[in-house]
Symmetry: C2
């Protein structure tokens, strides 16, 4: 059974304080205590550590009603730089963030979706990171870590390995490969875990503690958080909602099974559906998936009735598959992220909302909201940057344990969590 | 956000110690500390409380290698009696347990599946409980609580209400109705929550902390535990796996949707499949679902090839739907419970195992096991008795807080959680 140690609690409390600063902006220690539910004593201790580490700085000294001075604390953006990278079948998107996770620069490079060579992909990732660093005017010296999301099954147990069936990659030690090339700390995870972490920190996680974020592009999957816990599963493979069934014995899926959700709501699925409606439609036969989806968006804006039918059918499939997710997990919020829903949101979201009540059980429908994620920028890159920030804080915190004496009694006397 | 208080931690630690005694049998304080990961000081404090409350008793005094005497503690079965009740569409099964959750007596009464009147159902429940008490020679005075599972959506937020679409019940306050009739503390929950709790305490939960238990009878659903937490969802409606899709636009389901898993793997679903294979098969046209499934088991034992085809098709549907559950949650263990899998296990489980690798992603397959639950007796009744035991311990523990001084510092210095 998972058991919390004082060290875990301390680490979690550090995240909570930082998390609160992202939610609230510059805040007094009292405000942080109120928002987190931690005691003022605990917040004061943690804030002292963070100030000593340079992670926080004093934003302002103000006076309250009776004239007492108090400090407003804020995250020190210049304590370091973090790179978050979203690697997909069709592109690499690298973003450079400051420590407050504000964007300093970004570079997106296309990946040829028919190339799956390791050297080609690694070169593409390194090139995109270097271009993003250049675009942001950032040198390598201040970088505290690089977080890279890979499209596939990322296992952490015996060194990080990636299994990416779409590329025919088996047990590729990409974290090692990238760390060698970049000479920087690298953390690799899966886009679903990255998307849900950014949703927890910067999206609907600000108001609820259980949610799913559905990421759709070439493929489809769901990041899941339940009662504040990111669900990883036994082998970090949870969330493969794209490979749950919509239609037993239906369309062939890339995974080898037939009838998976992904085969209907991923970009190639939309091409298949459009070909079923009108095989001679001009949006078909384009070179890449993203060109196809862009052409669909342009056509929808122009009122193309065939594309409206495509949206109706896709919206129905998506609503049915989201209904399954809600019926199983009874989460109050589902958000959509990724390049496909972003491009088609204006038409797809209303189509999904129309159909959803036909697919969700009455007991799980009241209070349920479905919409496009409000996480700013690329949610996967931001999530990877957030994981990297968490790891950096943990490293600092562990170093700090030797210096500052923990006060378990004082914490426990308030709340533990 | 959910935040643990010292009171929660104390309550959880009490459950852990009791839980360990169920796992280990009579144990020394040292063994309990080792098994739970709690400190010996914490275990000694909690054991002292339990002994004072009469929940534990000293089973034996033994001597270790150097001749020091030590006590073996055990649950005191005679501290009270608990009734666990499984109410389904076709029956009421009431079991009387002692405080060690050993069965003292049981009574099963048939419910007419075409009757849905509240008075009829309440009379059926009360009658079954009274018969079980009589069968076990138990008077009402020692009963610490009655746990009743109702087939439907049980909400706890504003008084307990039940929504049971199969009976056309809306917002029925069954807990109140039963407590009035029985003049005993009553706790009502949903069978999926009861099945997973008993699986956590007495089934595969003894070796893993993430699992799903799939309950199949007239309907179908899944109880889910992830990292030791029972997943309830926003409105206690999580686990409705029976109402996730197998085939979009497939067979009509009782829920109003088409193509749900339940319509293929529940007892009426098997009747439909058999009618598709051989509409004149003699097992069809019987009065009740349970007679039908019994006839199927008898026919399978006799080698009926039509029924073998029924098992093959049903096993394939069940494997596909279990594959979806595993692909989404990446749990290492799935168990089957309920009267239908119990009756057909000999044929159905091999059929499911044959098909499962075609439906589970490669990254989630290694280490996955699927089998019939090894929870003894009726898992739903036992789970409801366990919930009732938890509530009884919490009541005693809260009363105990006033008497014994908690030692938050001592607990936190060891482990928390």
């Amino acid at each position: 059974m998972a058991r919390h140690t004082v060290r875990d609690v301390r680490s979690e409390n550090r995240f909570e304080v930082l998390h609160a600063l992202f939610d609230l902006g510059p805040s007094s220690r009292q405000e942080l205590a109120r928002h987190t539910g931690l005691s003022l004593a605990t917040v004061t201790t943690l804030a002292g550590e963070f100030l000593a580490e340079g992670v926080l700085r004093i934003a302002a000294v103000e006076r309250n009603a009776v004239g007492r001075p108090y400090e407003r604390l804020t995250i020190n953006p210049d304590r370091g730089r973090i790179v978050g990278v979203d690697v997909a079948e069709t592109y690499v998107d690298a973003t450079v963030y400051d420590l407050a996770l504000d964007v300093l620069g970004r570079h997106e490079a296309a990946l040829d979706e028919d190339q799956n060579d390791q050297v080609y992909v690694v070169d593409g990732i390194v090139g995109a990171i270097e271009a993003a660093l250049k675009a942001s005017g950032t040198g390598r010296e201040g970088i505290v870590g690089v977080g890279v999301s890979m499209p596939g099954h990322v296992q952490h147990d015996s060194g990080v390995s990636v299994f990416a069936p779409n590329w025919d990659w088996h047990d590729v030690h990409i974290e090692e490969l990238l760390a060698e090339r970049l000479r920087l700390p690298v953390y690799v995870d899966n886009p679903l875990k990255a998307a849900i972490l950014s949703e927890m920190w910067f999206g609907v996680g600000r108001v609820v503690d259980s949610m799913a974020v559905v990421n759709i592009g070439t493929g489809a999957g769901a990041g899941i958080a339940l009662e504040g816990t990111l669900i990883r599963g036994m082998t970090n493979n949870a969330g493969e909602w794209g490979h749950t069934l919509l239609v037993l014995d239906g369309r062939p899926c890339r995974c080898g099974r037939r009838g998976c959700v992904e085969a209907y709501v991923g970009a190639p699925g939309l091409e298949t559906t459009l070909a079923e409606i009108d095989p001679s439609h001009p949006a078909l036969g384009r070179l890449g998936q993203r060109d196809f989806v862009e052409a669909v968006a342009v056509g929808l804006a122009a009122g193309d009735p065939v594309l409206r039918e495509l949206v109706r059918r896709t919206g129905r499939c998506l609503a049915a598959a989201l209904g399954d997710l809600v019926n199983l997990l009874n989460v109050p919020k589902v958000t959509l992220t990724g390049w496909l829903p972003t491009a088609l949101a204006e038409w797809l979201v209303p189509a999904v909302r129309d159909e959803l009540p036909h697919h969700v059980l009455p007991g799980s429908l009241p209070g349920l909201t479905v919409g496009v994620s409000e996480v700013p920028g690329n949610a996967v890159s931001l999530g990877m940057a957030t994981f990297t920030l968490e790891r950096f804080l943990t490293r600092l915190g562990l170093a700090g344990t030797a210096r500052t004496r923990p006060q378990p009694g004082a914490e426990a006397a308030q709340t533990i969590g």
